[in-house]
């Protein structure tokens, strides 16, 4: 018996519209990042604590195809059936502990962003399957939101050897923007650099990630940590969200300074110098705007949550959820720790003013030589003993210029008049010419 048709309202969103909205808000790099995150989750599900050196995520792309393969846990057919290929995860979905792929939408969104012909193969410990998706055909069936396992590919209640499990995605019929970008060496290069940063902690643990056969490099992050300069440290655990914060100094470098924020070992904010962390300018609630005086500053925040829905990040994992109370609280801590370090950086600048002779800049000298004693951040974290310690530096070395009985004279003369005088005096610098001519006047005319 069918219901009377006139009472039916079509509440299905148009699929085409839905898909186009879904992919609008994500960049190609972030889409690929989502797939990498899923691979990292699968690898962590399989690994014990002995490091990640036998794991590999392999990404290959050109203007025609894209593929990503990992030798992680694979995806059980049951997970594929009930959750992974669903739009939005059901409540029953069991998240991997400390996962980074928590929003459920990520994998499908990435597929749609990249291309129209998608093929997924999974080999998990007790099942394996293949799913082929023809997006254009799928869009023509307005009410069907399912995908189908390929006939004969589905095997369940089997035993696959642990060393064999894997997950593979192949995408063909790339979308126009993917065709252009994947054929652009500059895009590939910046993608490599971005993934290398985002997963630096996992790569440091031995995980191999390669893009077009280029192994992603390790990025080491380090801070000065010796007897006289020690970074500020803070840790806390609240409602299942653990946070560790480190702030200190490192090389004077415009490209690397700022705050780094990690969520479950995935870098979310890199080298941040904006108001999203602490740099609001003096009129905001944070510290002054980022500028060259602060190039030595480095801060690191590590959020960890067994249940990744507790992490204060946004859905595209490109930034923090600045309204979340958990982040607000931590940000307050970051601001005060930044101020501790800026205390030193301000003093360094004071000491460096022109009228303070080089040999008097004792604090600067100390800091310059301390740069040879940097420690890797993971090592510092392993060595902490207290849950809270302030930034330490030898404040007694601070030696600002004294206001003495000196006057500064400054004037300009024409080059034609200057040259014969400087030749006569045998002086090279205008400063020297100025000093010598004044001295001459003082000794002979007064």
């Amino acid at each position: 018996m069918s219901k009377p048709k006139t009472f039916l309202v079509d509440a299905d969103p148009a699929k085409g519209f839905f898909v186009s909205m879904l992919v609008k808000d994500i960049t190609l790099k972030d889409a690929i990042g989502d797939l990498v995150d899923n691979s990292v989750d699968a690898i962590k599900e399989k690994s014990d604590n002995s490091g990640l050196s036998q794991y590999h995520i392999k990404i290959d792309m050109d203007s025609k195809t894209f593929s990503i393969t990992d030798n992680g846990y694979g995806m059980e057919s049951e997970v594929a059936r009930k959750t992974a290929f669903n739009f939005g995860k059901s409540d029953q979905h069991q998240l991997v502990d400390y996962s980074i792929g928590q929003f459920g939408i990520g994998m499908k969104r990435a597929f749609f962003k990249i291309g129209k012909n998608i093929s997924v193969f999974s080999k998990a410990p007790s099942s394996q399957f293949k799913i082929d998706i023809d997006v254009l055909e799928w869009l023509t069936k307005p009410k069907e939101w399912k995908f189908h396992f390929n006939k004969d590919s589905l095997k369940e209640n089997i035993k696959n050897s642990k060393s064999d499990t894997c997950f593979k995605v192949n995408i063909k019929d790339l979308n126009a923007d993917a065709q252009v970008s994947f054929g652009d060496p500059k895009f590939i290069d910046s993608l490599i650099k971005e993934i290398a940063l985002e997963h630096m902690l996992n790569i440091n643990k031995g995980l191999r990630i390669s893009v077009n056969n280029i192994d992603l490099p390790t990025n080491l992050i380090s801070l000065v940590n010796n007897d006289s300069i020690k970074p500020a440290y803070f840790e806390e655990e609240k409602n299942g969200l653990k946070v560790k914060i480190l702030a200190g100094i490192s090389d004077y470098n415009a490209d690397d300074g700022g705050w780094y924020v990690f969520c479950n070992e995935r870098l979310i904010l890199a080298k941040d110098t904006s108001a999203a962390t602490v740099w609001t300018g003096t009129r905001g609630d944070g510290v002054p705007l980022w500028h060259s005086q602060y190039y030595r500053f480095r801060g690191f925040v590590f959020f960890e949550a067994n249940d990744s829905s507790k992490l204060p990040w946004n859905t595209t994992k490109t930034g923090m959820d600045v309204d979340s109370p958990a982040y607000k609280n931590v940000r307050g801590k970051m601001i005060s720790m930044t101020r501790e370090v800026l205390g030193l950086l301000d003093k360094l600048k004071d000491e460096k003013t022109k009228d303070n002779p080089e040999e008097n800049r004792t604090l600067n000298k100390m800091v310059d030589s301390s740069l040879k004693q940097k420690s890797e951040v993971s090592k510092i974290l392993n060595e902490v003993t207290a849950s809270h310690s302030s930034f330490q530096y030898p404040v007694e070395l601070y030696n600002p210029p004294r206001k003495t009985n000196v006057v500064k004279i400054s004037y300009q003369v024409s080059k034609n008049e200057f040259e014969p005088v400087s030749d006569h005096l045998g002086s090279k610098t205008p400063k020297d010419v100025g000093l010598k001519t004044f001295k001459y006047f003082y000794e002979n005319e007064l």
Partner: protein
């Protein structure tokens, strides 16, 4: 001091050969249109060697020289060899976008003295993104390896990497080059890579979703050394309509044309006038040798190294004749 004050530009033999080779390639642009439709944009410095050559032999009338050293304006103005050359004082990065590159075909030669730097990449972007198809675009820069100062604590490799990063920026350095020692060879190869990536990226942006694809046909990849190692990359900005003319121009039959990463090396031997004269009367000729030297009797008689003779034979049509004169 600027480089024009350090060296007399007229006395750089390899550069002078390069200039004449470029002239020969440029002369084929007439297959696209008459030189009245072209404009020359370069860095004339105080010598204007390129301007003089291209005005004399191509008849280019519309010429612009970009000069950053504003405070030496009187000296540049004094040295202007022809009335038609327009001086533009300022940085290339701000001058180039204001020249209306999309309106008139140009021959552009950005002959930088320095090593590849970020501002050059933005100049390349300006030219490739905007220039009217038919424009011949060439860029020269130093690939001389960095010498480490005595007081640096870094290893030579670290020092060179740092200097390179400082010039072009972290993000421009290809990931696979991060481990290299940037001696002249690697600096050249990586600079080439960065430039060709910049060109293809600028073209991707320029073409957008439009169906007429503009492309870059690389024709120059020179390397030579007068007092520093120099690399020159150049080529033609091509629209589909120009493909036919491109065929007619038949660049492939010029020995020095290079379309990829391998360079044409200009190595000008130092020869006396008498030697030059003797060589010229024997050329062109096969350079085949046997046990007793060159098969060509005349060449065999000349008491020079085989290598020098072979190098000379490659470039003899472009060999500079320097003499002290009272002009």
């Amino acid at each position: 001091m600027s480089s024009f004050e350090k060296v007399n530009y007229n006395l750089r033999p390899n550069k002078s050969i390069e200039r004449k080779m470029m002239l020969e390639a440029f002369s084929r642009l007439t297959y696209i249109s008459h030189f009245d439709d072209y404009r020359y944009i370069g860095f004339g410095s105080a010598y204007f060697s390129d301007f003089i050559l291209f005005h004399r032999y191509l008849g280019l009338q519309d010429m612009i020289s970009i000069e950053k050293e504003k405070d030496k304006k009187p000296r540049f103005d004094f040295n202007l060899p022809y009335f038609g050359i327009e001086m533009k004082y300022g940085e290339s990065t701000t001058i180039l976008p204001n020249l209306g590159l999309e309106e008139k075909k140009s021959i552009i030669w950005l002959d930088y003295d320095d090593k590849l730097s970020d501002f050059m990449l933005s100049d390349i972007d300006t030219v490739v993104f905007n220039s009217k198809p038919g424009t011949f675009f060439t860029v020269s820069f130093s690939i001389e390896q960095d010498a480490k100062p005595a007081d640096s604590d870094l290893t030579i490799k670290e020092y060179r990497l740092n200097e390179f990063k400082k010039r072009v920026g972290d993000h421009q350095l290809p990931i696979e080059s991060m481990d290299l020692n940037f001696n002249t060879k690697n600096l050249g190869e990586t600079s080439y890579k960065i430039i060709s990536r910049q060109i293809s990226s600028s073209l991707i942006n320029r073409n957008g979703s439009s169906t007429t694809r503009i492309s870059f046909k690389q024709l120059f990849n020179f390397r030579y050394r007068d007092n520093a190692n120099i690399m020159t990359i150049g080529g033609l900005i091509v629209s589909p309509q120009l493909e036919k003319s491109l065929k007619k121009m038949n660049f492939e039959n010029l020995s020095f044309i290079r379309g990829k990463e391998d360079s044409y090396k200009i190595e000008c031997p130092n020869l006396t006038f008498r030697e030059v004269k003797a060589l010229d009367t024997a050329l062109p000729s096969s350079l085949e040798t046997n046990a007793s030297g060159f098969k060509n009797e005349r060449l065999r008689q000349i008491p020079l190294l085989q290598r020098d003779i072979k190098n000379y034979a490659k470039i003899y049509r472009y060999y500079p004749s320097f003499a002290e004169t009272n002009m």
